[in-house]
Structure formats: C-alpha cells, structure tokens
C-alpha cells in the first residue's frame, strides 16, 4: 500500500488510529484550501516538525494536533456562515474571556477565532508556507517595504484567498498597536465591504514608570471600553451573554492557567527538560480562543506535564545541567529555528518573558466587576503598559527565574510591542547588571532574517553568556 503522507501527518500530530480514517478527508480538503501541497505535508512530516518539536512526547504531538484541528475548523468557517452561524474574529493581544463567553453561551450559533494566529502558527510553524499569504497581501495593497505585521497581512490575505469568510463582527483591540485595527478598516474599504469591525482602543498616555493597574481612572476607562466593545459584539450577533457565563469562562481559564504554571515550574528546573518551542504553544489558549474548545489542548497539556515530570525525575534535559539560560522577550513557533539555534549553542530559553508572571499578576483581582477585573489584569501585563513599569516587571521575572541574561527584539514589525526594546534593554541592564541583548528580527516571518543572517548574532550571544557563566 502506498504511503499516505496526510495520514502520516495525522499520526505524527497525535491522532489516534481510530480517529484517522474519519478525520483524513477533512484534513485533505482543508490542506487544499490552505494552499498546501503533498510536498508541503511531506516536508512537515519528515523535516520541519521533527526538527523543531519534541515529538518523542505524546503531549507535544497532541498539542500539534489540537492546532491542526483548530485550523481545519477555521477553513470550515465559510460553511458555518452559510448555515447561519455568527462569525466573530479578534486579534492578539486581547482578553479572550469575552470571546469564549460568546462561544459558551451559544456553541452552535457562534464561531470565534483569531484567524491570523492559527494560520501563521500552523502554516509557518509546521510547513514554512506562510509566504504565499504574505506575498498576496503585499501584491494587493499592503506594500512590502514598510515592515507591516505578518499577522495583519495574513488576516487580509486569508480573506482575499477565500480561506476565511467575512466576519459578522471583528472586534478588534487596538490597545497595543495602531496597525491591527487600521488593517481591519483597510480590509473593509479595499477588499471586503462585508468585513464588519468594532474597535476598542486605549491611548498610551501614562508617564514612564506609572504602575498603571493602580491608576483607578485608567482601570475604569479601560473597563468601560471593554464593556462597550463586548456589548457591541453581542448586539451585532444577537446573543446576550450573562455575567455567569463570563465567570464560567474565568474558571476554565484559571484551571488551564494553573496547569500552565505547573509546566512553567517544570521548565525552570535544571537541566531544562523541554525545549521552548515545544512548550510555548501551550500558552496560546490563554490569549487566543479555540473555537473547538480547550479540551483537546488541556488533554495534551496534562499528558505533557506527566511526561516532563518523568524527565525531571530522570534528570533528563535538552541541555546539560548548569547550562546558562536566557529569558527571551518573545519567540514563536512560526519561526522555530530562533529558539533552537540558542539551544543548539548550549543556551536554554526556558521561557518567553511575556508568559512569565509577576507576583502581582498572580494575585487575584482587586475588583469583583468582571470588566474592572479584566482591565486591571490587562494593565498588569508586560507590554501593555509603559516601559518604565514594564522594565520593573521584567527585572522581577529575571530574578525569579534566575536567568543569566535577557534577549529583546525579534518584534521589528510592531510599533508598540517591539518599538521600545532598545530602551527597555538599557533600563533593565542598568537595574540588573545582567547582559541584555537586542536582536533585530521578526518572529512571525523569516523572509528578511534568515537563519544565516542571524546565526552570527545568536552564536555570539551564546558565547558571551557561556563565558560569563564559566
């Protein structure tokens, strides 16, 4: 019997033998819609995934499978829409409770997704095949030279290419960057008049060093903005969410977050038991809604925790005990070779900074009102706040994880999250006296910064850190 590479792909991504025959036709159909060829799938099975993900672990394989399921589901959004299901999109970063609450309130009537996240992660991370989307966007109105964000280009191109339908509402959070919400305005005017958008924004106007979650006016304003946006989204799709449903979501979210905290603790052990690329995708459900639900990811997380515990017990690591470790601001599976290059050079990156929590972030909210609590939570997050406060947060995290330095950058497409890294690097280095490195690059799109281009930089950083540690 001829080898079926699509079947092998499902096997590799944690599908059980009895699931495969049922799922295979859907996966084949989705792969065509996504623009994947048999060669792309073969490349993923034989090279890409085994190189960058720890496929020896069942939990990792099942996590990859959860992303595949979600992406295949995304390709069916047009069919859902034809059946009258309401399509709700959002973008990163957002507090996803509201999206999940919509889904939980009317599971069969609502489809929720941040489409660009799944497309970027799966197409680039698994197949290294995001380029056709990026190039489609660049050919049709989002020019290449301005360093626009790959997520925005992908969202736009996915619509142009017919991968996703128009949303009934795209509730866009412009709390961070300007380009994301304006991209939705662009899509509506330039390509798709049916692309309905509601935006929720917050000016970056707090003085350097302000502890933003303690400025009551700011928390109140943000809460009002969130409430306003959520009400608009509910009105648009004709679904009313109760506060009880939001609480239900918070409980699910909290349960998942607690499990992640356990994985985080395990990642911090010496020797580091798991590479960051295999762990990092587990964090996405905290920030990005899965229309298929979190059960599949939670199951994968339970398995991986068990497996990593076994590695810890056996003192088995991806690097020798005592290897230096760096905190990195952000790495993403879309460009998985960055993290691997550090690990191959003997330096561990147990965690992205963004996903490491401060003591304050672990504290319960001060407010009972769900919007005030969400706003306060948002204003405790690194990157959402002014650089002075953010620098304090990063210093605390570095101390907690006892890292040997920090890597900033790799966000050069982002005029908010990526624009202050050089400044932050100075502030943090002054405070911690630890080395802080800056890498110009893009953690979604590696067309401009190839492995060859960054190799020298990363190797030098690793050498410096190893020499300091020696």
């Amino acid at each position: 019997m001829a080898k079926d590479i699509y079947e092998d792909f499902l096997r590799l991504t944690g599908f059980e033998e009895d699931e495969i025959p049922k799922y295979l036709p859907e996966w084949r159909k989705a792969s065509v819609k996504l623009g994947l060829t048999e060669d792309d799938v073969k490349f993923a099975v034989e090279e890409r995934i085994p190189t960058y993900f720890d496929i020896k672990l069942e939990g990792v394989r099942k996590m990859l499978g959860s992303y595949l399921k979600e992406t295949v589901d995304l390709t069916k959004a047009s069919e859902y829409k034809e059946r009258g299901v309401k399509i709700v999109y959002g973008i990163l970063p957002a507090i996803l409770h509201f999206y999940y609450a919509l889904k939980l309130t009317a599971p069969d009537k609502v489809f929720v997704s941040f489409p660009d996240i799944f497309l970027t992660l799966v197409l680039n991370g698994f197949f290294h095949k995001l380029n056709p989307y990026l190039e489609e966007a660049e050919r049709t109105g989002i020019p290449y030279g301005c360093r626009h964000c790959a997520l925005n280009k992908t969202r736009y191109a996915a619509r142009r290419l017919g991968v996703i339908p128009s949303p009934d509402i795209s509730w866009i959070w412009g709390f961070i960057c300007d380009e994301a919400p304006k991209t939705d305005e662009f899509i509506r005017i330039y390509h798709d008049p049916e692309w309905k958008t509601y935006i929720t924004r917050l000016p970056h106007d707090q003085p350097l060093g302000t502890v933003e979650d303690e400025v009551i006016d700011r928390v109140e304003y943000l809460a009002s903005q969130m409430k306003d946006g959520f009400e608009a989204a509910q009105k648009e799709i004709g679904i009313k969410v109760t506060d009880g449903k939001i609480s239900e979501v918070v409980a699910i979210w909290q349960r998942y977050a607690n499990k992640l905290a356990e994985l985080a603790q395990l990642m911090a052990t010496d020797p580091q038991p798991l590479g960051v690329m295999s762990a990092r995708p587990f964090w996405e459900p905290l920030f990005c809604p899965f229309n298929t639900g979190v059960d599949s990811m939670e199951n994968a997380l339970d398995i991986v925790i068990k497996e990593v515990k076994q590695r810890v017990a056996r003192k088995e690591g991806i690097l020798p005990k005592g290897a230096p470790k760096l905190m990195i601001y952000s790495v993403h599976p879309s460009v998985p070779w960055i993290a691997k290059m550090f690990e191959d050079n003997g330096v561990g990156i147990p965690f992205p900074e963004f996903f490491t929590l401060t003591k304050k972030q672990l504290m319960p909210p001060t407010f009972e009102d769900p919007y005030m609590a969400a706003a306060e939570n948002w204003l405790r997050m690194s990157g959402m706040v002014n650089p002075g406060y953010q620098a304090e947060q990063i210093c605390e995290k570095m101390a907690t994880l006892n890292v040997d330095g920090l890597v900033m950058g790799l966000m050069d497409f982002d005029r908010w999250l990526g624009s202050d890294h050089r400044l932050l690097a100075r502030m943090i280095e002054e405070k911690t006296k630890l080395p802080v490195f800056y890498i110009e690059g893009d953690n979604w799109d590696d067309r401009d910064y190839s492995q060859e281009a960054l190799r020298t930089r990363i190797e030098s950083i690793c050498e410096i850190v190893k020499m300091r540690k020696a």
């Binding site: 109105g141 989002i142 020019p143 030279g145 301005c146 360093r147 626009h148 412009g174 960057c177 300007d178 380009e179 919400p181 304006k182 991209t183 305005e185 662009f186 005017i189 330039y190 935006i199 929720t200 924004r201 917050l202 000016p203 970056h204 106007d205 707090q206 003085p207 350097l208 304003y221 009002s224 903005q225 306003d228 002014n386 650089p387 002075g388 050069d412 497409f413 005029r415 908010w416 990526g418 624009s419 202050d420 890294h421 050089r422 400044l423 100075r426 110009e440």
Partner: protein, 384 residues
C-alpha cells in the same frame, strides 16, 4: 513676498526671542501634534513652540540606540536634534506636551521622559465616534489646563482663553483667505510658500501675525502669480511636511508644477475650523480640535471620510494630479495610500507616491527629481 521672507527671518530667530522671554520669567511650552490647542498655552501666559522639525537624516538616526529603527523619521526627529546637541529650543522648554494618538508619538513621549525632559502627555483616543473617547480627550484638555496653570502660576480665565481663541481664529481666518486664493489659475502662491507660511505662523509673534498675514493677503490679491497658467495643479497629501523638509515641495514647483492644495495632518493650521467663542470654551476647544476638523489618518473610522474630502479638494481646487508624500515606516499612512491610490485611479486623477526617510543626498535627489519631473510632464501631456 518680502513679508514671507520677513516671517521666515522671525521664525529662524525664534530661539533667541524665546530665550529672552524665558529670561523675563515667561514659561516656554513645546508641543507635539495638532490636538494640543495652542490657545490653551497662550491663555496660561506661556509661549507655545510647535515641535515639528524634519528633513534631515541624522536626527532620526540619532534615536536608533533607543528606539526601533522602523519608526517614523518625522517623530524621531522631534527628539533627534536634541540628542545630536543641535536643538536650541528643547533644552530650554519648561514643558513639552505630547499628543498620544499613535504609537510613534507615545514612544516619543517615552524618550522625552527617559531623557528627563519635562513632559506631559495628552491622550487622544482614536475611536473618536464614541462619547467615551470624546470625554477622555476633553478631560485630558482640562488636566492639561491645570498643568499649565501650575507651571505658569496663572489662572486660565474665560477672558484669557477667549482672547487667545479670538487671536488664533483671526490667524486661521487669514490663512484660509490666502488658501482660497489658490483656487485661481494660476495660483498666486504655491505650496512651497504656503506650507512655509503655515510653519512660520507657529513661530511669529501672535500679536503681529494677523497684520503680517493681512498684508500678505493684500499683496497676493494684487500681485502677479509666479506660476504659468498651464502649470499642472498638484495636491500634496500625506502625514506631514515638517519644518525644514522642503525638498519635495520645492522640487514639484521647480519641475513646472504648482502645489495648489495640501491634505496634510500635521504641521499645518487647520484653518477651515474655528473655535467658537461663546459658551463653554474648553468644550468648544475640545469639539473643534477633536470632532470638527478632518479626522487624521489614525482615527477610526477615517479613511472613507478623508477620501471624500480629498475628492472635494480636487474638485474645488481644480487639481490635475496628487502626490502622496509617504514617510518611511509610517504604517497607517502606507495603508491609506493604497486606498487613495485606487480611488484616484477610479476617478482618473494621476497619482504618485514618493517615499522619504529624509535622505536627500545628491544620490537620492537625482532619481526623485526624475520621478517628479516625469509626473509633472505626464500631466502636461495628458492635458494636451
């Protein structure tokens, strides 16, 4: 045009004047952006100074050790000159008010604060159609007023505010009259001069400015146009032509075109929109600055309204072609440019996008000149 050159001289010597005034105890308040009402600063007894320099590559580069290099060269310039040690104004400012309507401006404010310059931010929510956002901006203005009162020790009374609004309205009225003269064919004043005139209006003595503008208006009415009647009429659009960034406007007019109108968010007085002088003056300021004027590109929604306004200008000023002046890495304007480019195509108006990172060395200006000349020439040929 002697008046314009006289104003240019006053503007060039503004630093000395401000230093002198500062010596007498007058507070000097720098500001960034169109949402900071000059009227409020004047009413507090301080002297306003618009930070709006650009056109040279070194100042934006001076910011790179602190900021992502893919940021607006215009915004980076507002602190870049200071970091190079060649800004005579910034070190003497008692306060710098930075409007925070986008990421570029907010990062500029971060840098001012990092370098311990006295900074205050004015938040400008871009989702401007919500009452929530309007109230936020209005509150911000009130807080700014209080800050100015603390700084100067002067109460911003209704009387003082009315006086400053009246005086600024007068300036806007006169600039509007001059602007409308440009509907004539040939236009009595081109864009290179009109943009400079706008710039100088920020740096001349507010007491003398109305009479200077009035004289200029009179002179333009009577004088002969420096342009030929056949000169293609160009609309210059984009974010901003900064003070000192005159290469492109001059090149357009040196190539045989005339800039008959502008569509720029910053660096120009929005002279179509006066502030009402009765009722709640702070609210009037807020309404005019936030709601009534043309929404900037960053506002959302904005682009459909802006396209309609652009079309109206094209009709009213009999425009032959549009040049979009795109500053590098200004992501929102870059998106808007694609929309406008397509609309221009639909209405059969020639469109040219020029991108600048303020690199105007001989090697860069050569190709730029060729493009502008070809564009102007192609419009002439179209007309037959």
């Amino acid at each position: 045009m002697d008046i314009l050159e006289g104003m240019a001289k006053t503007a060039r010597t503004r630093a000395e004047h401000l230093r002198e005034q500062k010596g007498k105890g007058v507070k000097i308040v720098g500001y960034v952006g169109r949402f900071v009402p000059e009227e409020l600063i004047l009413a507090s007894g301080a002297l306003p100074y618009l930070l709006c320099r650009g056109g040279q590559p070194e100042p934006p580069d001076a910011v790179i050790p602190y900021l992502l290099r893919f940021m607006s060269p215009y915004t980076r310039s507002q602190i870049g000159y200071h970091l190079l040690g060649v800004d005579p104004i910034v070190p003497m400012l008692d306060l710098i008010v930075v409007q925070c309507s986008d990421c570029h401006e907010s990062r500029l404010a971060d840098l001012f604060e990092y370098f311990k310059l006295p900074t205050v931010r004015l938040g400008v929510p871009t989702d401007w159609e919500k009452s929530l956002s309007r109230d936020y901006y209005y509150k911000g203005l009130t807080r700014l007023g209080e800050k100015l009162e603390d700084l100067t020790g002067n109460k911003i009374s209704d009387e003082k505010l009315k006086e400053s609004i009246d005086s600024t309205n007068k300036v806007r009225d006169l600039l509007k009259k001059i602007k409308l003269l440009r509907k004539a064919q040939p236009s009595p004043i081109g864009g290179y001069d009109f943009i400079r005139l706008n710039h100088y209006s920020f740096y001349c003595d507010s007491a003398e400015l109305p009479s200077q503008l009035n004289d200029l208006y009179g002179g333009l009415q009577k004088g002969k146009s420096p342009f030929s009647k056949e000169a293609p009429r160009i609309l210059l659009a984009g974010h901003v032509v900064a003070v000192g960034d005159y290469v492109v406007p001059k090149l357009i007019e040196d190539s045989g075109g005339v800039i008959a109108a502008e569509f720029l968010d910053e660096g120009m007085r929005h002279c179509e929109f006066n502030v009402k002088t009765d009722g709640d003056l702070m609210k009037n300021l807020g309404e005019t600055y936030y709601l009534e004027r043309t929404p900037p590109s960053i506002f959302q929604p904005a682009w459909e309204e802006r396209v309609e306004l652009l079309k109206k200008i094209i009709r009213d000023f009999n425009i032959d072609g549009v040049i979009w002046y795109q500053l590098s890495f200004e992501e929102v304007y870059n998106l808007e440019c694609s929309i406008i480019s397509r609309v221009m195509d639909e209405i059969n108006i020639p469109f040219l996008k020029l991108e600048s990172s303020y690199e105007y060395a001989r090697e860069a200006v050569g190709p730029l000149t060729t493009r502008v000349e070809s564009f102007v020439e192609s419009i002439k040929q179209r007309r037959g």
